[in-house]
Symmetry: C2
Subunit: 338 residues, 2 copies
Amino acid sequence: MAETRQWRLESRPVGEPTHENFELVTVDRPDPGPNEVLVETLYQSVDPYMRGRMRDAESYAEPWDVGDPMKAGVVGEVLESNADAFEAGDVVTGELNWAEHAVADAGELRRVNPDHGPISTALGVLGMPGVTAYWGLNDVGNPKPGDTVVVSAAAGAVGSVVGQLARLGGARVVGTAGSEEKIDWLTDDLGFDAAINYKETDDLSAAIDDACPDGVDVYFDNVGGPITDAVWPRLNVDARIAICGQIALYNATEVPTGPRKLAKLIESRAKVEGFLVSDYEHRWGEALERLSTFIRNDDLRYRENIVDGFENAPDAFLGLFEGENAGKQLVKVGEYDG
Amino acid sequence: MAETRQWRLESRPVGEPTHENFELVTVDRPDPGPNEVLVETLYQSVDPYMRGRMRDAESYAEPWDVGDPMKAGVVGEVLESNADAFEAGDVVTGELNWAEHAVADAGELRRVNPDHGPISTALGVLGMPGVTAYWGLNDVGNPKPGDTVVVSAAAGAVGSVVGQLARLGGARVVGTAGSEEKIDWLTDDLGFDAAINYKETDDLSAAIDDACPDGVDVYFDNVGGPITDAVWPRLNVDARIAICGQIALYNATEVPTGPRKLAKLIESRAKVEGFLVSDYEHRWGEALERLSTFIRNDDLRYRENIVDGFENAPDAFLGLFEGENAGKQLVKVGEYDG
């Protein structure tokens, strides 16, 4: 019988995850049941939100169980189908196992059209991160032309799209990132008005002041922690803060503390709102249509950081917390011949 | 020439304000100029926001200058008028000096109708605190019938109105306050479903859990600090948090720190919004009409804590930070004979 490999959660991390939390196992390749499809993974996504699922705590997503395969966004090719909607050779995306092969119910899969661009983009700029950026910026942040928009983790899969969409909407765009190479990409290729290398900046508050002479109207926060602390005092009247992620805090082993922030909201009448892309399920297509048009017109650029080989998936995930990736972090698992 | 007394800012407080920050001076009673009115103070308000104006820092309101008379909400009687809109004997309200007499431009005054109730209510339930409660709850908090609404400083001038309005709207209402006498008032007279004496509670989180078995949908925050920390983990999906005040932090001499709170907003998709009643200037009358109707029908109750004598105004103000007042804290300065 054919086999496949899976990454399972070996143990729950305390603080920063390590390789010891992951176990690579070889199992029999599963057979699809009625209305199910067998998918061969071509690309697997790794994302910061996964840190939350490794934890044994109630959150918006169920935690993963120790000993079970972990879950990830996957783009793959249908090998066998017992569902009318799909046939062998179709390219699909969905939340599947961290695995070379997995079985999924047809209802959990979305079709990927290879003519629309590289299939890997279904996990990045034309997938969850792109849609997160689109609705988070436009529905929660809601920038107006001339506004100053600050985005943290600006070179990441979400942040890089946020900044470019804000620029296209006529805003002044400032990003934070963790290397000179990323800073250059933001300002030279993506059209950011300014970018701050937070790792090389002694006085983050002064850097934000310099980059935002008219204050901050929209803050799109992927990071939390000291970067957010530095942006906060610069919030303008009626500022909007979209809380997308707080990666700076995800590995904390004690309750993270910092300056109390709520009083500033009174003076500025600012609004802070957390959001989840899953709440925009019904508006997914609308975002994809706009994003793909921007890409076709070269108004929106993206980068993918692809680690080759399924065995390297934990490396790719752990790198997220080191700020190693510019753009979307992916793992290439199989070869697409389409 | 007739004289009057004023309280002036003698020095800026460091931490908790003390009597040494206030100076009582006797000056010539001012003469009204063109379109101005001489007002005799009958009641003077003291409010937590005044702590911010004693500070030499930019905020939503100009700081007071050392050596100048401080400003307060006042209800008074017109003694002399050079304005068409007012005549001697009229009762008016506005932001005037901490003084027994003051001159004001007619445009800064609002008429008080003594037939609508005790004139002191123009500084409380039918004034700034009542309007703050009305629009902060209804426009920012926006509770639905069946929601759980938590309000901090629930026995205060704003909080007591917030809780009753929420109850009238069909919400489950939980308040926090700092004495058993206040707790009894909230639950026995004002119809709160539960009230927590934060000074006598070892485990505030457990107390909030007990009082809010279905979580918290709306949190109206007057206080900040540990009470807010205890409410935060109980926020439901789509919760709204209206930030009205943060009195627990106003006397801090260093940047107050506490648990970082933004990650919870992602999971709960909750919205935190600061507001100022001055932004509702154009909707003041709408709030007053509703509030006075509720009062006439005995659906809305209020308390005033009146300190007698202008010389005791600093005492009344300092008491705000001790949590001494239930309901609206006022200073009675003159006798109304109307």
